[in-house]
Symmetry: C7
Subunit: 95 residues, 7 copies
């Protein structure tokens, strides 16, 4: 099963373990979102603009990326967990 | 009864069982939305833009798609459950 | 009394019974909005755009439509319940 | 005292009694907003657009209109209750 | 001390007593906002548009206006209470 | 340490004492925001527009201004409290 | 591991200690956000505009900046805490 994300969405396979809040204690000063690392498996055609044109994404297939842990849609492909995110939820490319 | 979705809406027939949260336990780290698979039965003419033009949809009749489980409007056609969604609630095409 | 809806509003007469949630039990997995069927009695001149132009509606007088049950303004005409909705609350045309 | 509403606002004098929810019982299936009828006494010059132009209103002085009961600003003129509303809170013209 | 309001803000001196909700009883059917009357003492240069231009205000110095009681910033000038409001909080000019 | 505010932000030094709500009693009818007076120490290059251009600010270095007390970011410079605000939080220039 | 922030995001290394609310007491009149100082390590290509163009950022690599403490995504690089922020969360450049 091949997946083609729509518009500005990207399909990502996680490559990093999630850092979990140990013991569930809430610590306000470190409550910032920590990103998760992943490999871009497929990208959409681009973001639709107000005038109907499509702006291609900056992210390419094969990029290693950091993305926000919350948000996106989980999907299992060939037994492995993937995520479909909007490109805007990806914060950086790891080079 | 034939249905013509309006503008950027699409009519979808589910083809996948929904994964349910077993026992109703809430598990924060896996609370992401899981998509549901469906077959596109009909599509609207396109999304109206700010300047009054219509941008045709990327999704076509006959596409198999993944869409977010929440959102949309249920409608029963010939005894079968269908959904009318905005194209933006469809995250990917399955090829 | 004749009614002319303003801009992107439409006047609709219900033709379908509403499916009610029996006994008031909330069932999360089927909590999606179910549409109601209606007959379009009158339509507005169109939706005003950012540049001041008016985009004519896609819905015409005489169309049978599905619309979201919540939203809109009820009005009684000749003793019968009608609804004034924005065209965007109409999800599909029944053909 | 004469009132000139600003921009897309209109001055309306009520001509219909309000239907009140008898006894304050909340009935979910009929909780839709019911409009109130009024006579347009004065209208603003029009709605300001993004480019600085003004789009004239569709409503004219002397129109009988249906408007949503909630919203708007009450003002007493010559001992009678009037309302200043945005044109967008008026749903239809009664002909 | 002279005050020059910025952009689409106006400086207003109240000329009408506020009607107060006697005894704090909440009466739903008359909960609409009642305007307060004032005299325009100074106006800003205009509202900045998306393209960087400035649209001059419709309100002029010396106008008597009705404005919504809530919103705006109070400022005391020469011992008298004034208000700095956005022009959009002014609903009408009294002529 | 010199500070250059970014875009539509301005650096302000307070010159007026804040009026405090004595004893913490909440008085609804006078709950409007009271502005604080300050001196503009530095201004950003301007507000970025949708088309990528920058609209210069109306406020200049050396202006005495009234600004809303809530909002903005406090920063201590040479032992004195300053505020970094968006220009839109400044309501007027004192002349 | 090198990080390339996407679009209008910037990678920042903190250089200032955070001022903490001592003892957790909430003091309304000084509840304004205090900024944190940092060094810009990398910047994205720019902010995407409505028309598909990219507006380059004002912040450059090597700038010392003040940014709002809340918001952004923490990431550990070579054992040191960094932050990925949108440029709009940076309030000023320290010169």
């Amino acid at each position: 099963m091949a997946i083609r994300p729509l518009y500005d969405r990207v399909l990502i396979k996680r490559v990093a373990e999630e850092d979990r809040t140990k013991g569930g204690i809430i610590i306000p000063d470190s409550a910032k979102e920590k990103p998760v690392e992943g490999l871009v498996v497929a990208v959409g055609a681009g973001k639709p603009l107000k005038d109907g044109k499509i702006r291609p994404l900056d992210i390419k297939k094969g990029d290693r990326v950091l993305f926000n842990r919350y948000g996106g849609t989980e999907v299992k492909l060939a037994g492995e967990e993937h995520l479909i995110l909007r490109e805007d939820d990806v914060v950086a490319i790891v080079q």
